[in-house]
């Protein structure tokens, strides 16, 4: 029997006190680890989705909402903007704009968003088809990796989109032409994995047919009798030559960020019915808001860890009182003072180690459960199955706390006066 086994037996001899110590420690460690996991993965999502986008132009409303809906696809769009107003930014050859990608949102298939855009959008996120190809004409879709996997979409599959972002049979565009899957993207880790991409024109066509059915045909003049199978009509004209159309937003990449681009943003906000929002600024704002909650949780976690350290200290210290005879006895049997110190230190370290292991296990299981919930709610993929470097640092911290809590009892144990103790009993 070595010291480690002896420490272990001493701990398991008091199962309730051991349980309390481990549960407390695991709670503290688990909470910190969960915060780390969430924070890292959110940061990753935010960074990946930034994709070098400098400005988002959309309908007036909350700038944060515009960013969340157009870049992260987790909130409702602020509304639509008319192509007339937007086309200044879509036209090639703008002096400041390197790239402008139009987005049309508002439809979905089984909760996964259908985005009408152009081929620059997947290019922006460096998304390439794993199977099949990019869409070439309206009603062809290329599907993000996660969406394809969850919806079990394969090349050649056809489906009907529905209005809005919730699954509701009453909102299905059953009068419109079906979308046909022509490609499936490789996973990118960005929001595009959760999207179904198609040409902007597809969205228009669906809604034209839709409004036609409802007797609002006056709006869609030259489409009133069009055949959805025949795409040889004005929808194939470049967007900036369209009139009377609307899109949801435009993602912009500037050639360079400078005073002129800042002025352009201000001018959009002041002089048009549109708003321009900077993703980086909005995300910093969002993180600031979330950060308050995270900070409070972090403080709570640290308090719990502190209390668990104290609890380990108290239980070791009080067990020392009960065990002073057996410690003296071990000295009589040949144990050096150092051995007794090591024995108690090991008990503290063991508690910390087990508490850490249980805590990490809990946080990763918790993260996985949370990830599934978020997948359902936001179509965002998180995972509890990755481990972080910070968790190794956390292990060192945990062992440090176990050691610190055990230090005074351990030194006390090493100083056990054999003769006095045994003479008492």
């Amino acid at each position: 029997m070595n010291l480690l086994q002896l420490s272990w037996k001493n701990l398991t001899d008091k199962p309730l006190s051991m349980l309390l110590n481990i549960v407390l420690f695991a709670l503290g460690v688990g909470l910190i680890s969960l915060l780390l996991l969430l924070n890292t993965q959110l940061q990753e999502k935010f960074d990946k989705n930034l994709a070098g986008i400098d400005l988002v132009i959309g309908a007036k409303g909350s700038p944060l909402q515009l960013i969340l809906s157009s870049m992260y696809h987790i909130d409702a769009p602020t509304g639509n903007i008319s192509i007339d107003e937007a086309k200044a930014f879509l036209r090639p050859g703008h002096p400041f704009i390197e790239q402008a990608v139009p987005l049309s949102l508002g439809d979905s298939y089984k909760g996964y968003r259908i985005v009408g855009t152009n081929l620059q959008f997947p290019a922006m996120y460096e998304a390439v088809p794993a199977e099949g190809r990019l869409w070439e004409k309206p009603f062809e879709v290329s599907v993000g990796a996660t969406a394809a996997a969850v919806l079990n979409l394969k090349i050649g599959d056809a489906f009907q989109s529905s209005h809005g972002f919730v699954m509701d049979d009453n909102l299905v565009h059953d009068d419109a032409e079906a979308f046909k899957v022509v490609g499936i993207f490789q996973p990118t880790g960005a929001a595009i994995d959760q999207l179904i991409l198609t040409a902007t024109e597809s969205i228009w066509a669906v809604h034209d047919g839709h409004s036609h059915e409802e007797g609002e045909g006056a709006e869609d003049h030259d489409h009133s009798d069009h055949d959805h199978g025949d795409h040889d009509h004005s929808e194939t004209k470049p967007l900036h030559e369209q009139t009377d159309r609307s899109i949801t937003s435009i993602l912009l990449r500037f050639k360079a960020r400078n005073m002129q681009t800042l002025n352009m943003q201000r001018s959009i906000n002041e002089n048009t019915n549109m708003q321009a929002a900077t993703p980086a600024i909005e995300i910093v704002r969002l993180r600031g808001l979330m950060g308050l909650g995270a900070d409070a949780l972090r403080v709570l976690a640290l308090v719990i860890i502190g209390v668990s350290g104290l609890s380990i200290f108290i239980s070791l210290f009080s067990s020392l009182k009960e065990r002073r005879y057996e410690l003296a006895l071990m000295r009589v049997m040949g144990a050096s003072p150092f051995k007794l110190t090591a024995l108690i230190l090991l008990e503290g370290l063991l508690l910390a180690l087990i508490g850490y292991a249980v805590g990490i296990l809990l946080s990763h299981i918790g993260m996985e459960i949370l990830a599934r919930a978020m997948q359902d709610a936001y179509r965002y993929t998180f995972t509890g199955l990755t481990f972080l470097k910070e968790e190794a640092v956390l292990l060192l911290g945990a062992l440090g706390i176990g050691m610190a809590a055990a230090l005074i009892p351990a030194i006390q144990a090493g100083r056990t006066d054999i003769s006095t103790t045994l003479a008492e009993g």
Binding site: M1, L6, K9, N10, T12, D13, R323, Y325, E326, A328, L329, M330, R331, V332, M333, G334, A335, S336, P337, K339, I418, S419, L422, A423, G425
Partner: protein
């Protein structure tokens, strides 16, 4: 085997306890008898190397204990001296058998479960091998304590008041057991007691006098 000369000890720095010289031959059985307050336990601790004397020296198996480093003394004690205390204490998280094995290991010897088990069977404790010590009766605990004291085949066995709480029959039995087991491992046995009943059974006796200076 066991020699002590001019032993002195002080608890408070003012009153010095002086002890008679002791010289026990190998395998001899001795009785150290004295009334309460004569420093019996102090002397036992000095002889067992649990206390360092103020003056004088103790020699066990030709080794002078004050010449050993603290670490070496711990090891020496574990290997060469078996002590049976008035109250039996054990490592409570361990079974009876594990307590014996621990005694072997702490003395720096190889764990020998077979010897531990044999010894316990021999002392009629075979059925308690895997019991926790606090589940045992007083008498059983004392026998386990004796087993632990002799498991490493020590040169010297010290017993502190082993009979004080026992009736006459049990008293005789325990002394017989101690003498038999000490004999079995060829150890010198020194029993410290105030129990007058033991006087007749030992021809080798040292008597402690009240000796405060």
């Amino acid at each position: 085997m066991l020699h002590a000369k001019n032993l002195e000890y002080t608890y408070d720095g003012k009153h010095i306890l002086r002890f008679p010289d002791i010289a026990c031959g190998s395998g001899e059985h001795w009785l150290l008898i004295g009334q309460s307050g004569t420093g019996k336990t102090t002397l036992l601790h000095l002889l067992g190397g649990l206390l360092s004397p103020l003056g004088g020296w103790v020699q066990v198996a030709d080794t002078e204990m004050s010449s050993l480093s603290s670490f070496a003394l711990d090891r020496f004690r574990g290997k060469n001296i078996g002590i049976i205390f008035q109250q039996s204490h054990f490592v409570r998280a361990l079974t009876v058998e594990e307590n014996l094995v621990l005694a072997q290991q702490l003395a720096g010897l190889k764990p020998d479960r077979k010897r531990a088990a044999e010894l316990l069977y021999h002392l009629d404790l075979g059925h308690k091998l895997h019991a926790k010590p606090d589940r045992l009766s007083q008498g059983e605990q004392q026998r386990v304590a004796i087993a632990r004291a002799i498991i490493n085949r020590p040169n010297l066995i010290l017993a502190d008041e082993p009979t004080s709480a026992l009736d006459d029959d049990n008293c005789r039995e325990v002394i017989a057991l101690l003498e038999r087991e000490a004999g079995a491992v060829g150890a010198t046995l020194l029993i410290v007691t105030h129990d007058g009943r033991l006087k007749e059974q030992f021809s080798n006796r040292v008597t402690l006098q009240p000796n405060r200076v």
